[in-house]
Amino acid sequence: MAMSQIDSAAVKTAQPLVDSAVSVRNVSKKYGDVQALKDLSLEFPKGELTSLLGPSGCGKTTLLKIIAGLLPHDSGQIEVGGKTVTGPGPDRAFVFQDFALLPWANVLRNAAFGLELRGVAKSEREAIAEKYIREVGLAGFENKFPHQLSGGMRQRVGLARALSVNAQVLLLDEPFSAVDEQTRRKFQEDMLALVANEKKTFIFVTHSIEEAVYVSDQIAILLPRPSRVSEIIRPTSFRGKGVENIRRDSEYLDIVDEIWASLRSYVE
């Protein structure tokens, strides 16, 4: 297949070039009898956005939660910024698929909640949260409650909360899957700006091939049974061409097609 040329070339050039913000080495995880991850290794380069792409049930959420320190793994090692992960830490912030906002708290308190838990004084944490609320485009909604917001706006609050704690690594679990298509496109454009401005490492779980190719510096394709990293793809040519042109770029279209070719056999 055409695929194998791209991916073997990509795998060879990808890893030694940049230093890693997050290293996953030989990690395995079982839920009872279900082998969710088996001997999985993956490097996440600093300052880049890496997507984890794969059919549902291949262990994307499991891997992300293990990196977050929310879930123990059975064997192997995770390092974030050179330090071994043993639990949640200030160097990582999570954006949840279902937003995980506090329904009884307004936008401002939700966005400042990470800082509240770290014991930052109220005026200080609210100033920081306000800045990020503005950055994600929610200025003016500080006193609204989650149920008064659309799904897209709720996820922006989740994003502001994660940005406010100034963690070096952002872990996003299908952040836009509960959001309508137009909002989702806007989000994807905003993500590109965020990656460029924030100088953080993003680990982004998605099941949308187009989304992964659109936003990623690096795409890791995960396959189930046994769960493994099957390919690592690094798009090269279209990143600098401006957000309007990406979807028409021939490399973009080729990569989307090739990923689909390799995933289609896993779709039931």
């Binding site: 200030p90 279902d98 509960a178």
Partner: protein
């Protein structure tokens, strides 16, 4: 916006009282007084102060029992909700307590604690506590995993998770347990006065029945219902004050 529910409440009260008046006039039973007769009896008991003396007596076991039930009920409920082992140990006791017929327990309570205040407080607690415990523990166990995970990922301590996540998330159900517990506690207080020793409002009820003064009997019953309604409304005010977000709806998707 705020006046409509009040208007509806007044309307439904007027309907009930009207029906009561008509039923009393037919009459459906010689032992069933009209609304106006009952209210007159209530006013005369208020005039000579006897009803207030009765409440001073009735409120003692009631308030004491409710405070104990709320405090320990919520405490034990939180504990059962948080610890599977504790639930295994104590959960069944409260389920049995909630389903057991209280009247059957009263002789045992009297045997152990005599006929004084202690027994009456116990009756109120036995009535009020199980539903508070069971609601609290159920609500704690049903706290969405994802907001607990969220708090942990942002470095919450176990105490933070309890105070900032579990309790606020569980508070609507805890309060509905409290409301049910308070209603049950009122029943318990009157039952204790009817079954153990006739004192307070229970005494008015049993005495007026024995001398066929039905208006006074119904006046006493009416007053206890009124008091319970006022009490439940105050509890709702407290809930809205403590957990402002509770009446703002929940994020479902």
């Amino acid at each position: 916006m705020n006046n409509r529910p009040l208007l509806l409440k007044l309307l439904s009260a007027a309907l009930v009282f009207g029906a009561w008046e008509i039923a009393g006039r037919i009459p459906i039973s010689y032992a069933f007084p009209t609304f106006i007769e009952s209210m007159t009896a209530l006013l005369s008991m208020m005039g000579d102060g006897s009803i207030f003396l009765a409440y001073a007596e009735t409120l003692k076991p009631l308030v004491l029992g409710l405070v104990i039930s709320a405090f320990f009920g919520i405490g034990i409920g939180l504990w059962i909700g948080l610890s599977a082992r504790f639930e295994w140990l104590f959960g069944p006791i409260f389920i049995v307590m909630q389903t057991a017929p209280l009247a059957a327990l009263i002789p045992i309570l009297v045997m152990v604690y005599g006929i004084g205040l202690t027994s009456k407080v116990f009756v109120v607690c036995v009535m009020a506590m199980p539903v508070i415990v069971l609601n609290t523990s159920g609500a704690v166990r049903n706290t969405p995993q994802s907001i607990k995970d969220m708090a942990k990922s942002f470095l919450a301590s176990d105490r933070d998770v309890l105070v900032k996540i579990i309790i606020p998330a569980a508070s609507p159900i805890i309060f509905s347990g409290l409301r049910l517990g308070v209603s049950a506690g009122f029943i318990g207080a009157i039952l204790a006065e009817l079954k153990i020793t006739p004192t307070g409002v229970g005494d008015i009820i049993s005495y007026s029945r024995s001398v066929a003064d039905y208006p006074s009997m119904y006046a006493a019953i009416f007053s206890i219902i009124l008091l319970a309604v006022i009490f439940l409304n105050l509890l709702e005010k407290l809930e809205n004050y403590m957990f402002e977000g509770n009446n703002r709806g929940y994020v479902s998707d």
